[in-house]
C-alpha cells in the first residue's frame, strides 16, 4: 500500500469528533426505535381488539363487518412478519460484513500495511456493529428473533473469494460488493417496510453503506493506479488523479436491482 502519510493525532481528533456526531445519531435512532416499538405495541393491541371482536361472533355485526375485521387483522400480521424478515435479513448482511472486516483486519498486509486502510476497516466494523444492533433491536422489539448469523447467499460468495485474497485490493473489491448489496437492500427496504420509523431506520443506514462504498471505490482507483500512498487522511488533493473525484459516485440514483429479498437472511 505504499508509504504511510497518516497524522495519527489528527486521526484521533477526527475520530473523536466522529464519535460525538455518532452519539447524537445513535440517540436519534434509538428514539426512532422506541417510537417503532410503541407503534408496534399499538398495532398489536388493535389487532387483539379486532380478534376479540371476531371471536365474540359476527351474529350481530353482520357479514360485511366481520370480513373487514378479518381482513384488517390479516393485513397487520402479514406486514409485521415482513418487517421482521427485512430486519433480520439486514442484520444478516451486517453480520457478514463484520465478519469479513474482522478477518481482513487480521491479514498481515492489512495489519502491517497502510494505517488509514486499517483505521477505515476498524471504524467501518464498529459502524456495521451499530447497524446490526439497531436492526436486531427493531426485530426483537417487533416480536421476532435476533439474527446473529451471516447472510447465507453472500456468505457463500465470501467463502469462495477468501482463498483468492492476496492483497489489499482484493479485500477492497470484496468489501465493495458487500457494501453495495447492503446499500441496495436498505434502499429498497425503505419502500417495503410498513412504518415511518422503519423507513427512517433503513434510510439512515443506506447512505452510510453508500459512503463506505464511495470511499472504497476511490481507494480501489488509487491502488489500481499505484497511488496507495495517497490513501491517507489528510490526503494531498493536488496529487489525486482526476478519476478519484468521480469514481466514488458512479450513479445518479442508487439502484436496487441487486437488493437481497427480505427473506434471504430471515431467521428460519
Amino acid at each position: 500500500m505504499g508509504a504511510e502519510r497518516i497524522d495519527t493525532r489528527l486521526l484521533e481528533e477526527l475520530t473523536e469528533q466522529s464519535q460525538d456526531l455518532n452519539s447524537d445519531a445513535v440517540r436519534i435512532t434509538e428514539e426512532a426505535l422506541g417510537d417503532f416499538v410503541d407503534a408496534s405495541r399499538e398495532e398489536q393491541a388493535q389487532a387483539a381488539v379486532s380478534r376479540r371482536w371476531w371471536q365474540r361472533g359476527g351474529v350481530i355485526a353482520g357479514a360485511a363487518g366481520a370480513a373487514a375485521a378479518f381482513s384488517s387483522l390479516r393485513a397487520v400480521a402479514a406486514t409485521s412478519s415482513d418487517d421482521v424478515k427485512a430486519l433480520q435479513t439486514a442484520a444478516s448482511i451486517e453480520n457478514l460484513a463484520i465478519s469479513v472486516y474482522r478477518t481482513a483486519a487480521g491479514l498481515p498486509f492489512i495489519k502491517d500495511g497502510n494505517k488509514t486502510v486499517a483505521a477505515f476497516i476498524a471504524k467501518t466494523t464498529t459502524q456495521h456493529q451499530a447497524h446490526a444492533k439497531a436492526f436486531n433491536a427493531a426485530a426483537t422489539q417487533a416480536g421476532g428473533k435476533a439474527q446473529n448469523a451471516p447472510d447465507p447467499t453472500y456468505a457463500a460468495v465470501v467463502k469462495k473469494a477468501l482463498p483468492t485474497i492476496k492483497a489489499p485490493a482484493d479485500v477492497v473489491k470484496l468489501a465493495i460488493t458487500l457494501e453495495d448489496v447492503a446499500a441496495q437492500t436498505y434502499t429498497k427496504n425503505v419502500s417495503e417496510v410498513s412504518s415511518g420509523d422503519l423507513r427512517r431506520l433503513f434510510a439512515s443506514v443506506a447512505p452510510v453503506e453508500a459512503q463506505h462504498r464511495a470511499t472504497l471505490l476511490a481507494v480501489q482507483a488509487l491502488l489500481a493506479g499505484n497511488l496507495g500512498d495517497l490513501v491517507a487522511i489528510p490526503t494531498d488533493p493536488a496529487k489525486l488523479p482526476a478519476a478519484a473525484g468521480s469514481v466514488g459516485m458512479p450513479v445518479a440514483f442508487y439502484p436496487t436491482a441487486k437488493a437481497s429479498p427480505i427473506t434471504e437472511g430471515a431467521v428460519k
Partner: protein
C-alpha cells in the same frame, strides 16, 4: 474546472480513466429507466387526487410544519449577507416574498418543490465554482476536484430533472431557479471563496443538507413513489459528501446513522 493553463494533469493512464468513465456512465444509464418509472408512478399518484399509497404518519406533519430548527444548523446562513435582493438569473433566488402560505405547492408536492430547489441550488453552486475556477479566483484546482464538480453537478441536474417531471406531471410549474430564502447567503459565501477548500466546505454543507432532507422525506411524505425516489437519491448525495470529506482531509464516513440535523426546512421555499 481547470488549472490556469486550462488543462488537467492526468496522473492516471488515459486508458484507465476511459475505462472507469465508461463504467460509471454505464452504471449511471442503468439507473435512469428505473428513475423515470418511479417518477411516473409519483405523477400518477398525484394525478389520482393525492391518494397516498401509505397511511400518513406523524413524521409528515413534523416535516411540513417545522423542522424549523433543523435548518438552523446550516452554516451557510451564518455566512450571512445583508443582501436580501432576489435574483432571476440562474442560481438566483425566486420570489422574494418567502411566503410559504401562498405556495402553489402543497402536501407532498411541497417536498418535491423543496427537492428541486435544493438540486438547483447545488447545480448553481457548482456552476459558480467552475466559473470562479476558470477566472483563476480559486488558485490551482486539483484535477480530482474538477472531475468531482463536473460529475456531482451532472447528477444534481439529473435529480432536478426527475423531480421537475413530477411537478409538471401534476400540472404545476417546473422550478428552474433557486426559490430558497437562504440562496442569497449561499451566493454571498460562494463569492467570498478564494480557494478550493472554501468551495469544498460550502459544497459539503449543500450535500449534507440534501442527503438529510431526503432522509427526512422518506418518513415524512405519503407517496410510495416519492419515498422511493428520495431513498434512491439520499445515498448519492451522501456519497458526494464522503468524497468531499476525503478531499477536505476529514473522515469520509463520519456518522453510523445519517442524521437529520442539517435537513432543509420546507419554510425555506419562497414559491
Amino acid at each position: 474546472m481547470s488549472d490556469q493553463r486550462n488543462q488537467w494533469a492526468l496522473e492516471m493512464s488515459e486508458a484507465e480513466l476511459t475505462r472507469l468513465t465508461g463504467d460509471m456512465e454505464a452504471a449511471h444509464r442503468e439507473t435512469l429507466p428505473v428513475m423515470r418509472a418511479t417518477a411516473g408512478d409519483l405523477v400518477a399518484e398525484t394525478r389520482s387526487g393525492g391518494q397516498p399509497s401509505r397511511p400518513a404518519d406523524p413524521g409528515r406533519r413534523r416535516f411540513l410544519l417545522g423542522a424549523g430548527g433543523l435548518a438552523a444548523g446550516l452554516a451557510l446562513a451564518a455566512c450571512s449577507s445583508n443582501d436580501k435582493k432576489s435574483s432571476n438569473a440562474p442560481g438566483g433566488s425566486g420570489s422574494p416574498s418567502g411566503s410559504a402560505a401562498k405556495s402553489s405547492y402543497t402536501g407532498d408536492l411541497k417536498v418535491v418543490a423543496l427537492a428541486v430547489a435544493l438540486e438547483n441550488q447545488a447545480v448553481g453552486a457548482y456552476q459558480a465554482a467552475l466559473a470562479a475556477a476558470k477566472a483563476g479566483k480559486l488558485g490551482k484546482v486539483p484535477p480530482a476536484v474538477a472531475t468531482f464538480v463536473t460529475t456531482a453537478m451532472a447528477q444534481h441536474a439529473d435529480h432536478a430533472k426527475a423531480w421537475n417531471s413530477v411537478l409538471t406531471g401534476a400540472g404545476k410549474p417546473a422550478i428552474t431557479n433557486v426559490p430558497l430564502s437562504n440562496q442569497p447567503a449561499t451566493l454571498a459565501a460562494l463569492g467570498k471563496a478564494t480557494d478550493v477548500g472554501a468551495v469544498a466546505k460550502l459544497a459539503l454543507q449543500l450535500e449534507d443538507q440534501a442527503a438529510q432532507t431526503y432522509l427526512f422525506a422518506t418518513y415524512s411524505v405519503t407517496s410510495a413513489a416519492g419515498i422511493a425516489t428520495a431513498a434512491s437519491i439520499a445515498p448519492v448525495e451522501a456519497m458526494h459528501a464522503a468524497i468531499l470529506n476525503y478531499v477536505l482531509g476529514q473522515y469520509p464516513v463520519p456518522d453510523d446513522f445519517l442524521p437529520t440535523d442539517k435537513a432543509a426546512d420546507p419554510a425555506l421555499l419562497t414559491v
